[in-house]
């Protein structure tokens, strides 16, 4: 008989029982729906060993890689330690080591942490202020020997956390990080596949990380990055991106300005429109979309209609938390 450990508790899985059935029988609250591996409401993560492959049916490859599985179709093959998604507490201490204004609205923040943890560039962590106020931010770098993480933090109107970062947070101050989450990141394999990266505003943060990751892993296919903003001063890292495009023959960078004040050094229009019209078909492409939720959701559908397979579309919509 296999045992299932969740949090502080360990339960025995009866023969023929799924992980979901065991947990529900023991009165553990697990969201669930169809109980046949379709609705994905009961998705959990195995923290020790890879889960049975059959319990990962239909999940995105990045989630499979992170040992996510569906509890309702998981018959454990060995003892498992599991957790519900997004329930990792912020426990990793980090110190602010760099703070740099990238645009009037976007601040680059670099933190260093003590306890090493695994992450993929493009995933996000919860950043917690010492009083508990918490927000999610995307990781803009690949793992670094100095244990540092880079974030691009956009100031939101009345944004409590972002205003604090912009106005008050100082070098040497401490924040607490959660473990990395999210399925929008690069995976090695299919190195010759063309990549399309589309981001608006600070959506460049995860894309910058994904691009660095792809290059570090030896991606050989063309990589097309489109970064959009309403006006010219909303764009950043323009020189860095142009340098990358000079250095790597397969990297192509198109800064896009949708408002009236663009000039000849930028494409005129919305980044996703320019990106989608840049190619006849997206069949066989891998597509990464980060930033404004409307842009991300609209482009996801348009990229799919243009031939990208759903399993090749990775999206991270930046939802704004209202109120506190």
């Amino acid at each position: 008989m296999q045992s299932i450990t969740i949090g502080e508790s360990t339960f025995s899985c009866q023969p023929d029982e799924t992980v979901l059935e065991t947990l529900l029988r023991e009165n553990v609250q697990v969201p669930n729906g169809c109980r046949q591996g379709l609705c994905q409401a009961c998705m959990m993560r195995s923290l020790d060993n890879p889960p049975p492959v059959s319990a990962q049916t239909g999940l995105k490859d990045t989630l499979q890689k992170q040992n996510y599985f569906l509890a309702c179709i998981c018959h454990p093959e060995q003892d498992m330690t599991v957790a519900l998604p997004n329930q990792q507490d912020a426990t990793i201490e980090a110190v602010i080591v760099q703070k740099q204004r990238l645009t009037p609205d976007i601040m680059r923040l670099v933190v260093e942490y003590q306890t090493p943890f695994n992450f993929f560039a493009g995933q996000f962590v919860n950043l917690k202020r010492l009083d508990g106020l918490t927000r999610s931010y995307s990781i803009a770098n690949i793992p670094h020997p100095k244990n540092s993480l880079e974030f691009h933090i956009r100031r939101l109107p009345n944004g409590q956390f972002s205003s604090w970062v912009h106005d008050e947070l100082a070098l040497g101050d401490r924040v607490i990080l959660s473990e990395a989450q999210g399925a929008c990141h690069y995976l090695p394999g299919r190195a010759e596949q063309p990549l399309m990266l589309v981001g608006t505003g600070s959506g460049l943060a995860p894309l910058y990380g994904i691009l660095a990751d792809a290059l570090a892993q030896g991606h050989t296919g063309p990589i097309h990055l489109f970064h959009g903003s309403r006006d010219l001063n909303g764009l950043y890292f323009i020189d860095e991106m142009r340098e990358l495009a000079e250095k790597f023959a397969n990297v192509h960078y198109t800064p896009c300005v949708s408002g009236a004040n663009g000039d000849s050094t930028h494409a005129r229009g919305r980044a996703h429109d320019i990106a989608l019209s840049s190619t006849e078909s997206l069949s066989g492409w891998r597509v990464f979309l980060c930033g404004h939720p409307d842009m991300v959701n609209q482009t996801k559908r348009m990229a799919f209609m243009k031939g990208a397979s759903m399993s090749d579309i990775y999206a991270d919509a930046f939802h704004v938390i209202q109120g506190k």
């Binding site: 379709l38 994905q40 996801k300 799919f304 209609m305």
Partner: protein
């Protein structure tokens, strides 16, 4: 779950198993989203989850291993029936199913078998 292993050549296997399902779903879902008669029923759906559900639908239509129950289908589509889902929409989906399989060069007799299985869900999906 495991009945597919017991019979020798099921429709599912003859059509091409999981690989055929994966190929079919992208083509089918594109047709559905492009069809003004029915795409409003899909507008608010999470595309990833939709693809997972359609894989299950195709597996079922191919007679493959599935956990299909009529009650689940009723519950899952009840909110769409409230939005006006009716026979004409079901017909449109059937049309796309056939066209998808034709596009994948599935032989006509196998398409007919799959269509018959899909057709058998009509009453449950439409809540009749």
């Amino acid at each position: 779950m495991s009945e597919s292993q017991e019979k020798s050549q099921t429709l599912y296997e003859r059509i091409g198993g999981e690989a055929a399902v994966n190929a079919a779903v992208d083509i089918f879902y594109r047709k559905v989203l492009a069809d003004y008669r029915i795409n409003r029923f899909f507008d608010n759906a999470d595309m990833e989850k939709q693809v997972a559900k359609q894989k299950a639908f195709f597996t079922m239509a191919f007679g493959g291993p599935n956990n299909y129950t009529g009650t689940d289908m009723r519950t899952a589509h009840a909110h769409l029936v409230k939005m006006g889902l009716n026979d004409s929409h079901f017909d449109a989906v059937m049309e796309h199913l056939g066209a998808t399989l034709t596009e994948l060069n599935v032989p006509a007799d196998l398409i007919a078998e799959a269509a018959a299985i899909a057709e058998s869900t009509r009453k449950d999906i439409l809540g009749k």
